[in-house]
């Protein structure tokens, strides 16, 4: 099992009566790409600030390889940090920016020079060493910020929504670059974002936060497939939420009913004790067919064409409108508003959610 580099125990941060962080405990493993994901106000940035040392915790502690660093100032923590607004030093050249952490560490000039060149190479910005930050584009500035944060070989690299100021295309390119940089260097990355695509595409592990608490954590695939709460299911990708009345159960196998139709649902280890299952159903797990072909019948209300797939909103008398995502290249039917269709899903498609979780 890999070593833990950071251990966060019961981290609580209060601003007056507001809990920005509420008893958050989290282990960060050596070399992993960990993403803190959440909407604004979820506490993800506060948690990162606490790790960086800018926001002292009200309660709880943070350990770096077994050493309590809760009360250490940011400059003693040896964490590189990349900010949303790049935060390059505007009065220094690119070279001086990257050399800054080495100079404050009093490294010899020859070593500084060599290391700066290495770091410029790392982010493919060799030709820009003598420019001023204001002369660079957003994407270039962020590369320099990255090189600067990595130049002193930090124990952990903290990234606070580093891509959110960039346009969509550039963001996608930099995601690949960040990921490959992480894989090459083996440095531990802690990445904060509100963008679920970024979280899913880069991370080894994602921690979803809401209202200062951890909602769920896991590898992206597992989180996407098995959200535990409605919040997670809704925040990561799209979901349909259904309340299914249970008519019969036998271990993990249940029978549910919609209208007059009974169908089986597999719910491994389902805790649902009542007569109703709260389930999330991913739009891409619902099949669309000609009337009568699938489990339930409905009428197409609206279609949204997105290129590689299309989103179809289907009305059903009992369950209301359902969002269905269909690959355009293997469509069984060409959906049009007003068209009668049928739809259905595999036994394991509905994911049972915990009760009461909003």
């Amino acid at each position: 099992m890999p070593d833990k580099i950071l251990t966060i125990a019961n981290a609580t941060k209060r601003y007056g009566p507001v809990h920005a962080l509420d008893r958050v405990s989290l282990d960060v493993e050596e070399g992993e790409f960990l993403t803190l994901l959440g909407p604004s106000g979820s506490g993800k940035t506060t948690l990162l600030s606490a790790i960086a040392g800018f926001a002292p915790l009200t309660e709880g502690r943070i350990d770096l390889r077994g050493r309590n660093i809760s009360n250490e100032p940011p400059e003693h923590r040896d964490f590189g940090m990349v900010f949303q607004g790049y935060a390059l030093f505007p009065t220094m050249t690119v070279r001086d920016n990257i050399a800054f952490p080495l100079k404050v560490r009093k490294r010899p000039a020859s070593e500084v020079r060599k290391r700066v060149d290495e770091c410029l190479g790392l982010v493919q910005m060799e030709d820009f060493a003598e420019r001023m930050p204001a002369q660079l584009s957003g994407g270039q500035q962020q590369r320099i910020a990255l090189a600067r944060a990595l130049s002193f070989e930090p124990q952990v690299l903290l990234l606070d929504e580093p891509l959110s100021a960039l346009d969509k295309k550039l963001r996608a390119d930099l995601q690949w670059e960040l990921k490959s940089l992480h894989d090459r260097l083996g440095v531990t990355f802690i990445y904060v974002t509100h963008d679920q695509d970024e979280a899913l595409s880069m991370s080894d592990r994602v921690v979803i936060l809401k209202d200062g608490r951890i909602q769920q954590q896991g590898v992206p695939d597992e989180l996407y497939k098995f959200p535990r709460t409605r919040f997670v299911a809704d925040f990561l990708g799209k979901s349909n939420f259904l309340d299914l009345p249970v008519t019969a159960r036998e271990g993990d196998e249940m029978t549910c009913r919609i209208g007059g139709t009974n169908f089986p649902v597999t719910a491994p280890g389902a805790t649902a004790s009542g007569d109703v299952l709260n389930v999330a159903l991913r739009p891409e797990r619902i099949r669309l067919g000609a009337p009568g072909q699938e489990l339930l019948d409905g009428i197409v209300r609206q279609v949204s064409y997105l290129g590689e797939r299309c989103l179809v909103l289907v009305d059903h008398a009992e369950v209301g409108p359902l969002m269905i995502s269909q690959p355009t290249w293997k469509a069984e039917v060409t959906p049009k508003a007003g068209l009668p269709v049928s739809f259905g899903w595999d036994v394991d498609a509905p994911v049972i959610l915990e009760d009461g979780a909003a």
Binding site: A52, G53, F54, P73, P74, E75, R77, D78, F79, G80, M81, F83, Q84, G85, A87, L88, F89, P90, T91, F100, P101, V104, R105, A145, R148, A149, F152, L158
Partner: protein, 264 residues
């Protein structure tokens, strides 16, 4: 574009020029007066003469008062810039309610009438034994100049992204290294403006000086004031003319440099 010359426009243009003339003429009238050939304040009678300029440069009292104003002004500029910048940077780092209140308190010298302020100086300086000393004048002027420095440094720091000092800290710089490396460079334009303001405040100040000095300390404004009280010496006009010229030169240089700055 066609110039529109409606009656309305002519009315307002005339009004504007008259206000401008009203503002400028009393200042400009010192120029002919300074060139008078008479020995009292008045317009030249027979010919233009530079005798009152010569008198200024030959009179030790005028020269020493000028020199006092200059060096006191420079010391005040340095003190006020150091203190005001420190204050502004401290408040910027805190940026909480206490620091906002502190900022308000610091600018009260601008709000309090100079006579009231000077009376306060007088009472205090008697207790402190600072009456009629250069130190007393420097201290009083520094207090009067502080708000100007801190306001201009605050304005300069408003452009500094708070994440930049955070970045410096996270990269391993101590608070002091951070201030030196990234905060001071950002504050520099404000410090420069503030320093110039502080010098002008001190150079120009008279009410306080009249209250807290007797014979030992004489600044240029005080000497001009006394010159009018004692005699009607046209030297005053020549001093005034030189100050006006100096102001015009400095203003032109400033405008010219700023335009240059915009081009780069």
């Amino acid at each position: 574009m066609m110039q529109q010359t409606s009656g309305f426009r002519i009315f307002f243009m005339t009004g504007a020029w008259m206000v401008l003339a009203f503002l400028l003429l009393p200042i400009l009238v010192v120029i002919p007066v300074s060139l008078t050939d008479t020995s009292y304040i008045g317009l030249p009678k027979e010919e233009l003469s530079l005798q009152h300029y010569v008198a200024y440069f030959q009179d030790d009292r005028w020269l020493s008062a000028t020199w006092t104003s200059i060096w006191v002004g420079l010391v005040v500029a340095v003190c006020a810039t150091v203190l005001g910048t420190t204050f502004a940077i401290g408040c910027w780092f805190l940026s909480n309610r206490a620091s906002t209140i502190a900022r308000w308190i610091l600018i009260t010298p601008i709000l309090v009438p100079p006579v009231v302020q000077s009376l306060g100086f007088y009472r205090f300086w008697v207790t402190l034994g600072l009456i009629d000393t250069h130190g007393g004048v420097i201290l009083a002027h520094t207090l009067l100049a502080l708000p100007y420095v801190s306001i201009s440094v605050f304005a300069a720091l408003a452009n500094l992204d708070p994440r930049i000092p955070q970045a410096a800290r996270s990269l391993g710089a101590s608070v002091w290294q951070t201030v030196r490396a990234v905060v001071l460079p950002a504050a520099k334009p404000g410090m420069l403006t503030g320093g110039i303001f502080a010098f002008i405040v001190s150079f120009d100040e008279i009410v306080g000086v009249l209250f807290i000095t007797v014979r030992n300390v004489s600044t240029l404004p005080k000497k001009i004031w006394e010159g009018i009280q004692e005699s009607i010496d046209p030297t005053i006009a020549s001093v005034a003319t030189m100050l006006v010229m100096l102001t015009i030169v400095v203003t032109i240089i400033t405008i010219w440099r700023r335009r240059d700055g915009d081009l780069t």
